[in-house]
């Protein structure tokens, strides 16, 4: 079976942020637990049971008889090592695992994790790919080189990685979860361009095409032998301002920019309606909010700019990722729309790595990105998107709100669902009122599949489980 996406940047679980790396790793490694198919529950993984009387001490039982693809046995100490590594300095997910005080193996099958304070989100974090389990001994022996030929206990193993061309995964004969995987081999072609990916799909070089350009969905649906599935996913496309820079430090300017374009028209003409408008950066599903997106109101936007002292508008720059067709379309639409309030937008197109670098060093005016959620708990996303202390989007954008930081910490420790709900709602309301960036829309995952592919499904976390899929002969 073959699919196409961007190249994997690294097989070291604590490195990458990009979806290709993440989704490929999820086929190679096991985690203690995994995010469920419904996007709300936690399923067992390498750990088949767990208990925690107080939310602070977690005792997890490691499944018997899990073997890595090289034949060695996965033990609780490998799992402890994974936790420690994810939380260590140098991990890109240090913040996510900062709540861990210690992780120790008390027996080959027992892992005890003690948190610094009780957390309702611990299991959700443990499901994160960053805590993927690898054989500690082999890794220690090989060092960094281990990641060129990684070994895991997942359904597949990496057999070939030709950088910038393709990745081949073969079935792991030692995989514990029978009868998976069904397929002997899975191939990921590196195709960065969405258009080329679709051409490859149409010429039957690919069995599955993810992220179908919205304008092709209708035509593909009419193609015999092809079905296009729309899966809801926890994804937000957004525009972010640099609040540390003028004029974006002024909330009136941010509101004006939010008001000065037609969201509905973007949803219709860019996404062809395959999704919903966003009122918050947090994706729907269990991220409770009832926020209505800002309306399209040029007059109010103009008035706000005048109040803020920018009656004649200003010049600014928008960073867009090269090859992201929809983003480039949005950029053109915004440039046109914001002209009406005197904002002169310069569009700069860069490779994703360059946009990321400029975003992470707060060296931007405005950028357009999206994120999908790998963790089915609001805590990670609040930390990632809205909380300055989370060290990600809010920090890069210079959005420091003490109330949000306070609420985020309180919500994480709160075990009562309704109270948590209220706190997460308040966090989102603050971000909304502060016009922290522009949440654009939550796009549905559009996936084209040839009819011979069976049991393929994209989860709300946007990844897929190819080990459950098979091909009809």
């Amino acid at each position: 079976m073959s699919l196409a996406d961007e190249d994997v940047t690294s097989f070291d679980p604590v490195e990458p942020f990009d979806n290709s790396s993440i989704w490929t790793m999820l086929h190679i490694y096991d985690q203690l637990v995994v995010a469920g198919k419904d996007g709300a529950s936690i399923e067992p993984g390498a750990a088949d049971s767990w208990k925690s009387p107080d939310g602070k001490t977690w005792v997890l039982h490691i499944r018997d008889g899990i073997k890595f693809s090289d034949g060695t046995t996965l033990t609780a100490s490998d799992a402890a090592f994974a936790m420690q590594r994810a939380a260590a300095a140098g991990s890109n997910f240090e913040d996510n695992f900062a709540l861990i005080d210690q992780a120790t193996a008390t027996s080959p099958n027992t892992l005890v994790v003690i948190l610094k304070k009780p957390s309702a989100s611990f299991l959700a974090y443990a499901s994160l790919y960053a805590a993927s389990i690898v054989p500690e001994k082999q890794f220690q022996a090989q060092g960094k080189k281990f990641w060129d030929k990684p070994v895991g206990s997942g359904p597949y193993m990496l057999t070939e990685w030709v950088k910038n061309d393709h990745i081949i995964l073969k079935r792991n004969p030692n995989y514990w979860q029978k009868p998976y995987p069904y397929l002997d081999e899975v191939r990921f072609d590196v195709v960065t361009d969405g258009n080329t990916r679709m051409l490859k799909f149409r010429s039957k070089e690919l069995d599955i095409a993810t992220d179908v350009p919205p304008n092709q969905v209708e035509a593909l649906k009419r193609t015999p032998g092809v079905s296009v599935n729309l899966y809801p996913q926890m994804r937000t496309d957004y525009i972010m301002f640099n609040l540390a820079r003028k004029p974006f430090s002024d909330v009136r300017v941010r509101r004006a920019l939010n008001l000065a374009f037609d969201r509905q028209a973007i949803l219709k003409s860019v996404l062809f309606g395959y999704g919903n408008l966003a009122g918050s950066l947090l994706p729907p599903m269990l991220y409770w909010n009832n926020l209505k997106p800002y309306p399209y109101d040029v007059d109010r936007a103009k008035a706000l700019l005048r109040e803020a002292g920018y009656a004649n508008g200003f010049d600014t720059e928008l960073l867009v990722v090269s090859g992201e067709t929809l983003d480039n379309q949005i950029a053109t639409i915004l440039k046109d729309a914001w002209k009406a309030i005197g904002v002169n937008l310069k569009i700069t197109v860069l490779e994703s790595a360059a946009v990321r670098a400029r975003r992470n060093s707060s060296n931007f005016d405005i950028y357009k990105r999206y994120f999908t959620s790998d963790v089915i708990d609001p805590d990670e996303l609040v930390a990632f998107a809205l909380d300055y202390a989370g060290g990600a989007i809010a920090k890069w954008a210079g959005f420091k709100n003490d109330r949000i930081t306070q609420l985020a910490a309180a919500a994480e420790a709160e075990m009562n669902v309704d109270k948590r709900k209220a706190m997460y709602f308040e966090i989102q309301k603050i971000a909304y009122d502060e016009a922290f960036g522009i949440p654009l829309y939550h796009a549905a995952n559009r996936t084209a599949i040839w009819d011979h592919v069976k049991d393929f499904k994209q989860l709300p976390t946007a990844n897929y489980r190819l080990w459950e899929s098979w091909i009809a002969k």
Partner: protein, 311 residues
């Protein structure tokens, strides 16, 4: 011949020096401090100062250049800002793809251009000649990225004759994967070949010895193949370096459209990634390639053509 060779090699020195100067100054065109650019999000004042010192940026320009040369001599073209690895192995990894594509394109273009060029020269001024010249005009003006898209749509998507993009793993797969890209480059290369060949052939046809050969009663076909075609082909091939320039330019565009993982695609990606050391390294590599090809063709030319004397 030995003296010619020695002189030819000696001439390479100033050439190589000049190329390194161009490549060296290329990086100085970037807005801002190269050290700050390289460090990106780790660009604290202290880090920048340290890297500036390490790169020798705080020293006079000629010292910086000497540093640059010393690094080159040890094969160190710097680290890619995107891949965070040395530039050279990444380039060398992808070079075979581009070379394969270039050779493939030459072969296809020659297969079309040699008969057409010869035909046009023999029928100079007649309808056939005019038709060929018109074809040359059309091909010369065809945007190759546009041709690439049209070919892809027709032959890959609609007819399923060729795969879309990629490079493949076996020789046969390369041939299939790179056919349309090679045709695309061939479209812009063949008119140049036709023109040059036609011109060279007319020159040869005018020469004394062809007329003599005909006068001596040799058969027209013999004269044509043994003298005219051979000599005009030799002088056509002698400027292989010039074609290579076209080829590489074509490869940059077609590799990008067809998503062929070669150096041209890498150049475009690096441009959007602001991967300055990679762009620098690629530019240098292409220049070296052209010099090498020029040297080889010159030497072969000298060996092949007995009429040429070198002083």
């Amino acid at each position: 011949m030995g003296r010619y060779l020695a002189r030819r090699l000696l001439l390479l020195l100033p050439m190589a020096l000049g190329i390194t100067i161009v490549v060296f100054f290329l990086l100085r065109l970037t807005p801002g401090d190269p050290a700050a650019i390289m460090l990106e999000n780790r660009a604290t004042a202290e880090n920048v100062a340290r890297l500036r010192h390490l790169l020798g940026l705080d020293r006079p320009l000629y010292v910086q250049y000497l540093f640059f040369l010393r690094n080159l001599a040890t094969g160190n073209l710097g680290d890619s800002l995107v891949y965070r690895r040395p530039v050279l192995p990444i380039i060398l990894d992808r070079l075979p793809v581009t070379l394969f594509l270039a050779v493939y394109a030459i072969v296809l273009a020659a297969a079309l251009a040699v008969p057409l060029g010869a035909w046009a020269a023999l029928r100079k001024g007649r309808a056939a000649d005019r038709a060929v010249r018109l074809g040359v005009l059309l091909f010369l003006a065809t945007p190759n990225y546009w041709a690439a898209i049209v070919l892809l749509l027709v032959f890959s998507v609609n007819l399923h004759w060729f795969p879309v993009g990629g490079y493949g793993e076996t020789f046969g797969a390369h041939l299939r994967h790179l056919f349309l890209p090679a045709v695309t480059i061939g479209i812009s290369l063949s008119p140049i070949l036709v023109r040059t060949l036609r011109h060279n052939m007319l020159e040869v046809l005018r020469t004394e010895y062809v007329r003599t050969a005909r006068a001596k009663g040799l058969r027209a076909v013999t004269v044509f193949t043994r003298h005219v075609l051979r000599n005009s082909l030799i002088s056509t091939v002698s400027i292989l370096g010039v074609y290579l320039g076209f080829l590489i330019g074509g490869a940059v565009v077609t590799e990008t459209v067809y998503a062929v993982p070669g150096t041209g695609f890498l150049l475009i990606k690096s441009t959007f990634g602001r991967d300055y050391p990679m762009v620098q390294g690629l530019t240098l590599m292409f220049a070296c390639l052209i010099i090498l090809v020029n040297l080889l063709t010159d030497i072969t030319y000298a060996l092949l053509d007995p009429r040429i004397k070198y002083e």
